[in-house]
């Protein structure tokens, strides 16, 4: 009997080892890390590659973007530009210069009517920079609007200048999307390649599977609830959402969200949420983020005509929920509402 047991035990160990090997090789466990920056949460879920190190590096990259673009951090390039408003040109890094140029280029799609990085003095009036919320008087808003436009910006070589001493820029509307661009660039080159990376930066997503062409299932959050209203499928992409439910305050039963319509100086009220999906190309994270604001501040007809303008330039599609809660989509995407068969 003893003669029989030895090979059996050996077989069992070998079998278990082999099974474990295949299981581990087939599906490495994802490593999820959570970080706090830019007044929101960054969650990175990496499967394969040197997952933990990749997560740390992605966080460091986002921190660098924060240090560069922050409206609040004393050493940021944004603060340097803003403090020098009305005084003269400020030398900026090539990265910062390129980001400001990209922002201004997106603004031009709609002639600055629905997205403007220089609207921040009006946002401050509403208390969105200090969280000391109030509804400003109409006169205050119109007075402030006069110098809260990107025509205050002079970009020349590697310098940026604000003409009026009261003008301010805030890249908060594209900084998260731009962080995803920087992260994607790094993921593209890292060795060994991870199998999959899901970056969730305050609800803006980067879905990366390298050359594996994963078919992602992306849930769309209900702007008036905790659940999702449905999902879309997509290959690797940037997904940016602008909604009136993340940062807002209420006065006398009225909701005032943090996305200020630059043409009126009042918070956008035409939509509850807009999700823009862009393909993986340089700056498309930032552009998608900005396009989200543009669609958010636009009525349905304008959304459709704007989409036709930008279609073919990397924008895949958009999922829209208007002020009445009506859902619609733009582009060749299939939105599957929750509860659909």
């Amino acid at each position: 009997m003893r003669k029989v047991i030895a090979p059996i035990v050996a077989l069992m160990v070998a079998g278990a080892g082999l099974a474990a090997f295949f299981v581990l090789r087939a599906s490495p466990e994802p490593v999820t890390s959570t970080y706090f920056l830019m007044d929101t949460v960054l969650t990175v879920k990496t499967t394969g590659g040197d997952a933990a190190a990749i997560n740390e590096h992605l966080h460091a990259l986002a921190s660098d973007v924060d240090s560069m673009t922050s409206y609040y951090k004393a050493e940021s390039e944004t603060v340097r530009v803003n403090t020098a408003a009305g005084k003269g040109p400020v030398s900026v890094s090539p990265e910062y210069g390129a980001l400001v140029k990209a922002a201004v280029a997106v603004e031009a799609i709609d002639h600055g009517r629905t997205f403007d990085i220089a609207i921040s003095p009006v946002s401050s009036l509403w208390g969105f920079t200090t969280k000391d919320f109030r509804v400003p008087a109409a006169k205050e808003i119109s007075d402030t609007l006069a110098y809260s436009h990107s025509d205050q910006l002079v970009i020349s070589g590697n310098t940026v200048q604000l003409r009026d001493h009261r003008a301010r820029i805030d890249l908060g509307g594209i900084a998260k999307g731009y962080s995803l661009d920087v992260m994607e660039e790094y993921l593209h080159s890292v060795k060994p390649q991870p199998r999959q990376v899901i970056v969730d930066f305050g609800g803006d997503l980067l879905l990366y599977s390298g050359g594996r062409k994963h078919d992602w299932k992306i849930g769309i959050r209900d702007p008036r609830g905790q659940e999702i209203i449905g999902y879309v499928r997509s290959g690797d992409a940037f997904v940016a959402t602008s909604g009136d439910y993340e940062r807002y305050f209420e006065r006398d039963g009225k909701r005032y969200c943090h996305i200020i319509d630059p043409s009126t100086g009042y918070p956008g009220t035409l939509n509850q949420s807009v999700t823009v999906i862009t393909d993986i190309q340089p700056m498309h994270g930032a552009i998608g983020d900005a396009l989200g604001k543009i669609f958010f501040c636009s009525p349905a007809e304008t959304q459709r005509s704007l989409f036709q303008t930008v279609q073919g330039q990397g924008i895949i599609g958009a999922i829209l929920v208007d002020a009445t809660g009506t859902q619609s989509t733009l582009g060749p995407i299939t939105f599957v509402p929750t509860g659909a068969p």
Binding site: I8, L11, S33, W216, I228
Partner: protein, 123 residues
């Protein structure tokens, strides 16, 4: 076929079955579980399938938070030392993927569990 061969066969089958069972056990779908993290570290887990009301007192980066699971599958923050109180006013979390977040306290409650097949939620 010798008797010992038959025994070997049976034992291999048992061994394979054991490996399969073990694999299923370690990979089984958890019941609905709320995971509470502060600064990326798990500080508590709450079984939301329990019918008892559970109250948790945890310490965030700014100060204490009170978290209550209502015994009906939902969990929420009922009190927190943060200036904006966004976490207290967030809709309670109950489905896999739902979150309640307190940014000033670096606190996240995430509902774990399988079934939705959703990779990520755009919000």
């Amino acid at each position: 076929m010798k008797r010992s061969d038959r025994i070997t066969g049976v034992v291999i089958l048992v061994a394979v079955a054991l490996v399969v069972v073990f694999w299923i056990v370690i990979h089984r779908t958890p019941g609905t579980l709320a995971v509470v993290q502060v600064d990326g570290k798990v500080v508590a887990t709450v079984d939301l399938t329990s019918h008892e009301v559970q109250t948790l007192r945890i310490t965030g980066v700014l100060g204490p938070l009170v978290i209550v699971a209502d015994g009906k599958g939902s969990i929420r923050v009922t009190a927190a030392t943060c200036p904006d109180q966004i976490c207290v006013h967030t809709i309670p979390a109950r489905s896999p993927g739902d979150q309640v977040i307190c940014v000033p306290n670096h606190m996240v409650i995430t509902i774990e569990g399988e079934g939705t097949g959703i990779d990520a939620v755009a919000q």
